[in-house]
Symmetry: C2
């Protein structure tokens, strides 16, 4: 490999990161459905040909962007061990200021996977299972019997996801926020039972 | 208006219904994302030009299909007043034989509405609110104080939606079904409290 090719490759690799950054920012603001190769090449200020050099198809670009976004979303510590109320923390993060773009994107991707044709299906499945595992650990710390933790984590995360989806779609914040408080109270009652059982 | 034009219009209207049927069947099997004008014209056996005569854009076709699908989904009596366990009925309907295509489509549409750019956004919002209202009525019949019914309907439907989404995406039926049983038990405990309060 000549020096020249090597230098060009480094330049391309740099460019590739820049393209991914631009595409990621676009997706977090507008969703995956609105992502087009043309818009991304315009944002980065490169030609369509250069973009195609890095990502041959829209699906390839989407898959890489989503890998990056999912990796980021998962890299955020979802539950701090010292947090006395992790469920409220998750809710506040998802709903503050119109909602986390990561949560919104996550729900768009889940919708895209309904018929199993999404290029990001496998990454989404890994992410969903990792979230269940993280919440299960949190519930065990809160006193949940380890054998029941996955079941509880599944319905609690399901309810959170369903409520946030309702809130984004309908915009009925008062109705949905009241429902979250009810969910929160139900989980708190359950946690109190776990602690009582542990101490008896 | 001449007889000829009138006759042609009737024939077109007939054709329009046929096109909508084909598009609806396609959407229920493959989802909205996979719907293309080309595939629909192939299924019905008409030219692309004839299809465009009826639906100028893909979005227009999608909007009409979804109106039809949502109307059907809503026309099914979601909760029979005599059903002793409507929550399980909803679950069984959504999950039997790989899941109702209507539920799957509903979740795909909800995902598409995350960034507010979906052409079916308003129809989806109406549908979600109608479901909440229907379940609220069911909960009042089960003894829920009317002022709390909407809040409970919101989190219960949210949890159902979140669990079904998890089940379709991950395919982890055992984990998700166990979580549904936990949700079901939690709602049953709540209903028992409502009845005790009513009888006291």
């Amino acid at each position: 490999m000549s020096e020249q090719v090597d230098g060009r490759r480094r330049r391309y690799e740099h460019r590739r990161g820049e393209i991914l950054e631009a595409a990621t920012a676009h997706v977090l603001e507008h969703g995956v459905r609105e992502l087009s190769l043309r818009k991304v090449s315009q944002t980065v200020g490169i030609s369509h040909a250069t973009l195609l050099h890095h990502f041959r198809t829209r699906d390839e670009l989407v898959a890489e962007v989503v890998d990056q976004v999912v990796a980021r979303a998962l890299s955020v510590p979802s539950l701090d061990e010292a947090d006395p109320d992790p469920l409220r923390t998750l809710w506040d993060r998802a709903t503050a200021d119109g909602g986390s773009p990561y949560v919104r994107l996550f729900l768009e991707l889940a919708g895209m996977s309904m018929f199993g044709t999404s290029p990001v299906h496998e990454a989404l499945v890994r992410s969903m299972r990792a979230r269940i595992a993280a919440l299960s650990e949190g519930l065990v710390r809160a006193g949940c019997p380890p054998r029941d933790a996955e079941t509880h984590a599944t319905w609690i995360l399901g309810a959170l996801r369903g409520l946030i989806s309702d809130r984004f779609v309908t915009g009925d914040t008062a109705r949905v926020d009241a429902a979250f408080e009810e969910l929160h109270a139900a989980v708190a009652r359950r946690a109190a039972q776990w602690r009582t059982a542990q101490n008896s």
